[in-house]
């Protein structure tokens, strides 16, 4: 190699992955050897940059979310034996909740009706026994995102109730919870139908 190494060659040599030709050139060329040394120094300087701290503590929200998920999972495991028998009933129940969800959009929902709808969906979810089903990566990712969303809303509801939030705020949060629960149940219903529950 009569020409100097490219940056990509130099980085490969730095990382112990360079071609034989590039390594031999670096051994013989003071300029390229100096460049490899400089790249080592840049990497070391990057690794030595100070650790940064988040501006506020995120643990309280994560803790509430983790606690809520744990409670949901614990309740769900108690229903495993009923899952197969109750599956069809659950699907019918979900359809009923879906149609009541449509009514909710048309007219303002009461806090009680939202809480009841949320409980109904929780019940449907338990009956579907989501913990016992094998999921595709995409379904698992969708479910995880929905569960995270629900956990976050639960955390916000906890905060709202402690902080005496307005009725509108509570309504908004419960509405969000019902929507997310509905989506979560739909994913599990689709999965259940797909595997022939």
């Amino acid at each position: 190699m009569t020409q100097h190494c490219t940056m990509e060659d130099l980085l490969a040599v730095r990382d112990g992955e360079g071609t034989g030709v590039a390594r031999r050139h670096v051994d013989q060329c003071p300029a390229c050897r100096a460049e490899v040394d400089r790249l080592h120094q840049v990497a070391a300087a990057l690794r030595a940059l100070p650790v940064q701290r988040p501006p506020r503590d995120r643990w309280p929200e994560i803790r509430v979310a983790a606690g809520a998920r744990r409670r949901r999972r614990w309740i769900a495991t108690g229903w495993i034996s009923l899952a197969a028998a109750a599956g069809l009933a659950a699907i019918l129940g979900i359809r009923a909740v879906r149609s009541s969800g449509g009514q909710m959009a048309a007219q303002p929902a009461s806090l009680d009706s939202l809480v009841a709808a949320s409980q109904q969906l929780e019940e449907a979810l338990r009956t579907l026994d989501p913990t016992s089903r094998v999921l595709s990566g995409r379904a698992a990712s969708t479910i995880a995102e929905l569960e995270d969303g629900i956990a976050l809303v639960d955390a916000q509801l906890g905060e709202a109730q402690r902080g005496r939030a307005s009725r509108e705020e509570l309504l908004g949060l419960w509405q969000q919870r019902v929507q997310l629960m509905n989506q979560l149940v739909n994913v599990h219903v689709t999965r259940a139908a797909y595997v022939g529950l």
Partner: protein, 178 residues
Amino acid sequence: MLAALDDLAIQRAKAGDLDALERIYRAYEGTVYTLARRICRTAEDAEDVLQETFFEVCRSIGSFRGSGPGSLTAWIKRVASSKALMRVRREKYRETDELFEDGDAVARRDPDVALTLDLEQALARLPDRSRAVVWMHDVEGYTHEDIAEMMGMTVSFSKSQLARAHARLKTWLGEEHR
């Protein structure tokens, strides 16, 4: 700080013990936030990545098969890296260079501080995907194959991004120290 975590704490966390999960959070929040902050453009994005990472850690630690703090570190960093890179892919971050305004005259009083700030500024000046590749490869130690997989790109993309980024850093750091 990581030394304070032992196998027992990890086992308790896997069983869903919230106090043990908090110990894991406290041990890794700086590591995860730093990684996210270097990859994401804004502090808000980095905070979101921190939260999403620990949502996933709390959700999935029961199925974590590694043993000991070393493998836990690797797993948590992998989760955080995926979350941060997903955000870079999703948010249509800037692809063109944006010059960083250099108004930090104070830092030049101390050469060591100046060097650190210059490097941080130069890193921040890089396009988002280049910066992500530099951090993931040179600091976190991921291979180009790992990075390509996590970013949904090819290995040659990762290599060329790294090379272009280092060429730019060389120019910028050289300019700063002239």
